[in-house]
């Protein structure tokens, strides 16, 4: 009898429990029926992270509709149109360079997140994502540049001897601006080898000028917002680029037309002795099928500027929520999910990115220490140092306009050797006009 009762109880229990559990599970889904429209950056490596979205949908019951996957330039245009026309837009991909310009349309995330939610992010990336005290995006991965140099050239005893004979000190990856000029000049043997290369046009040129400006102790603006980049530090910064390009001709002549792809290609083709570039090219540089310098390059920190330190320009890709969203909680939850430590670790492993999550970074270093080559570990350590102190472009909505106005002026000094002070005064006047409007 007892056994029978027990069996009946067991059957009833086994029937009831799964039902109630699944009912509980269904009740738990907080965003059932919510549809989030997302406008994301597209392209191979960026899209790996989006394969995790079904997990979010499963956990929360929300449905994520990726309305667009575009290059950042196209995406910005599309998002601007959606914002201006009051379109149905919830979550976007953005970047520390662009987010300040979009801030009128972005939800301040600090109103929805606790300090606990943010403690796994590298503090510098949260700082870069904060404009006027409002956290307007959550960082996803960060780009900071490091020095790539050719070990086969720098470690060649004949080169070392010749260098010492000419300059009176040992050849090494440059540690200050004077060494940078000397080494660049030394290795310039056109048409098959040049000392250095840099991005000589549009936003990449302004970014390069900006980090040199900071390393010379200057900035675009002082604390009151006055334009000061035409002062002495700015002149030193631009003079360095003009010396490299115009006077010493230590770069390929096409530099004013070079953007990211061209500088990286020039190094991969073995045309360049050393230069600064993003961490993302590293995998391609190591691949003998893609790169003539595979196994023949090393990594080093930036040379310090006249101010006695090196500041590195960088930026974080991230996600933001549109102010006009009808479901802020669900949209914030999606952004939080996409930038969780686990997902950023996954993305870094799959796409070779530099995660903004401290825990993900730690896991990457452990993985590399176990199996990887010493250069991989050095790369992560160098980047970690730089990540701690990188500087995003000025967080003002007019930045893009300022870039458009000043790069042609900077080029005038590069290609025609115009006096740097004249150039910077003209550029500063343009910037004052833009800000005064």
């Amino acid at each position: 009898m007892v056994v029978r009762r027990f069996l009946v109880a067991l059957v009833v229990f086994s029937l009831v429990v799964p039902f109630s559990l699944s009912a509980m599970a269904q009740e738990k889904k907080p965003f059932e029926g919510v549809v989030l429209n997302a406008y994301f950056i597209g392209g191979g490596a960026y899209e790996k992270l989006y394969t995790k979205i079904p997990e979010f949908e499963e956990q929360t019951g929300a449905k994520v509709n990726i309305a667009a996957k575009l290059s950042h330039f196209e995406l910005n245009k599309r998002v601007a149109q959606e914002f201006a026309s009051g379109g149905d837009i919830d979550v976007i991909s953005t970047h520390t360079t662009f987010a300040p310009g979009q801030k009128d349309f972005l939800l301040p995330l600090n109103e929805y997140l606790t300090p606990e939610d943010l403690k796994d992010f590298t503090p510098s990336t949260i700082e870069a994502s904060t404009v006027d005290g409002k956290l307007i995006m959550l960082p996803r991965h960060t780009d900071v540049r490091i020095m790539y140099y050719r070990t086969d050239l720098f470690e060649d005893p004949r080169e070392q001897e010749a260098f010492k004979a000419k300059y009176g000190y040992d050849l090494r990856p440059p540690t200050n601006w004077q060494e940078l000029l000397d080494v660049a000049e030394f290795f310039t043997r056109p048409p098959n080898l040049y000392g250095f290369v840099f991005t000589g046009g549009e936003e990449p040129l302004v970014g390069t000028f900006y980090e040199l400006l900071l390393s010379a102790g200057g900035n675009f603006f002082d604390e009151e917002g006055n334009v000061i980049f035409n002062q002495e530090p700015g002149q030193k910064a631009l003079q360095l680029l003009v010396d490299l390009y115009y006077h010493k001709k230590a770069t390929p002549e096409g530099v004013p037309n070079y953007r990211w792809d061209e500088v990286a290609k020039a190094f991969r083709d073995g045309l360049i002795a050393f230069y600064f570039d993003w961490p993302g090219w590293y995998t391609m540089m190591k691949d003998p099928k893609e790169s003539k310098v595979a196994g023949k390059f090393g990594l080093a920190p930036y040379p310090v500027g006249p101010a006695g330190y090196a500041k590195i320009w960088g930026g974080s890709h991230g996600f933001a929520v549109a102010k006009s969203t009808k479901n802020p909680e669900a949209a914030v939850a999606l952004v939080k999910f996409l930038t969780s430590g686990d997902n950023l670790y996954f993305e870094a492993k799959e796409g070779g990115f530099l995660p903004t999550s401290i825990s993900a970074y730690q896991r990457l270093k452990e993985d590399v220490a176990k199996t990887g080559d010493p250069l991989d570990l050095k790369r992560l350590e160098l980047l970690e140092q730089e990540l701690a102190g990188f500087v995003p472009p000025p967080k003002i909505p007019e930045y893009q306009e300022i870039v458009s106005a000043i790069w042609p002026e900077l080029q005038k000094s590069l290609v025609e050797g115009r006096d740097v002070k004249v150039t910077l005064d003209i550029a500063a006047e343009k910037v004052r006009k833009i800000l005064g409007r």
Binding site: A80, P190, G201, E253, G254, N257, E401, P408, V415
Partner: protein
């Protein structure tokens, strides 16, 4: 009743194109003029304020605008003239070819069939300093000892872009002139031959005057087209650089309106561009009418 419908029937027939014209041309034109009178910035909330002609005033005091305008005019004058002269030469040669005229004509038309974006890419590589065909040839012939940055020198960037445009568009003028040459009446030419006119005299006093209307047509079409088609070429080959050396009105408008989101400012530049273009078109059209009489 019949007269009533007869009276309205033509209006009904043209109604679809009137609606199309209104939606696709008149409305955007009026709207962009309205925008040019505001301070509208795509990424600034509440920036749609009426500011009168302030944008126009600023455009007219913007040195970059004047550089772009000067470059646009220079580009148009050089490429249109070179294309007309070269096109005429090619047409005269093709006209005299005794065999294989069909094949030659097709071959000459190939550049015209490429979209400008491909032509831009092709010449970006052709003039590239490290990997370009031109520098490669010059280096291997020993004419230069280090590669020349054709697209980044202020003195060579514009000629390089012009070269690409001329390469692409000369076939158009050649085809127009060839069609003209083939349809010329033979009697005046025979009369000139009988009178003992030299080949140059026949060309100068018989052929050229008869081709004049066609030359004006080709010139009008190419002049109005030159700045538009060059946009793709310039964006791909030089991006308007170095230091504004190849910035034309189209690329400058794009930079201000689309890259900087200054829609109102961009609209003001395009309106000035439009007024200049329409003025120029009217002038050319009058010349064309004069040429016909």
């Amino acid at each position: 009743m019949r007269t009533h419908s007869e009276r309205y029937f033509p209006y009904v027939l043209i109604l679809p194109s009137v609606i199309g014209t209104f939606l696709l041309i008149v409305f955007p034109l009026v709207y962009s003029f309205f925008l040019s009178l505001t301070s509208f910035h795509l990424l600034k909330a509440q920036s749609l304020r009426f500011v009168g002609f302030q944008n126009f005033w600023e455009v007219l005091h913007d040195p970059a605008f004047w550089v772009a305008l000067k470059n646009s005019l220079l580009f148009m004058v050089v490429v249109v003239n070179v294309e007309l002269v070269l096109g005429l030469l090619v047409a005269l040669l093709l006209n005299r070819a005794s065999g294989g005229q069909g094949i030659l004509r097709t071959l000459f038309m190939i550049p015209m069939m490429f979209p400008p974006i491909l032509v831009g890419l092709q010449f970006r590589w052709f003039f590239n300093d490290q990997f370009g065909l031109l520098n490669n040839i010059l280096l291997s012939l020993g004419i230069i000892d280090r590669p020349i940055g054709w697209l980044v020198r202020t003195k060579t960037a514009m000629p390089a872009v012009m070269f690409a445009d001329i390469w692409q568009n000369t076939p158009f003028t050649a085809v127009v002139f060839l069609a003209g040459l083939l349809s010329l009446p033979v009697e005046p030419l025979e009369a000139a031959l009988v009178d003992g006119a030299s080949p140059w005299q026949r060309f100068r006093y018989v052929i050229l005057p008869m081709l004049r209307p066609l030359i004006f047509i080709a010139m009008t079409i190419r002049s109005l087209d030159a700045g538009r088609k060059a946009f793709d070429l310039i964006m791909l080959m030089t991006g308007g650089g170095p230091a504004y050396a190849t910035e034309i009105l189209g690329t400058y408008t794009f930079r201000r309106a689309i890259v900087d989101y200054q829609f109102a400012y961009g609209a003001a530049i395009s309106f000035i561009d439009m007024v200049l273009t329409v003025g120029f078109a009217v002038y050319l059209y009058r010349q064309l009418l004069k040429g016909r009489t």
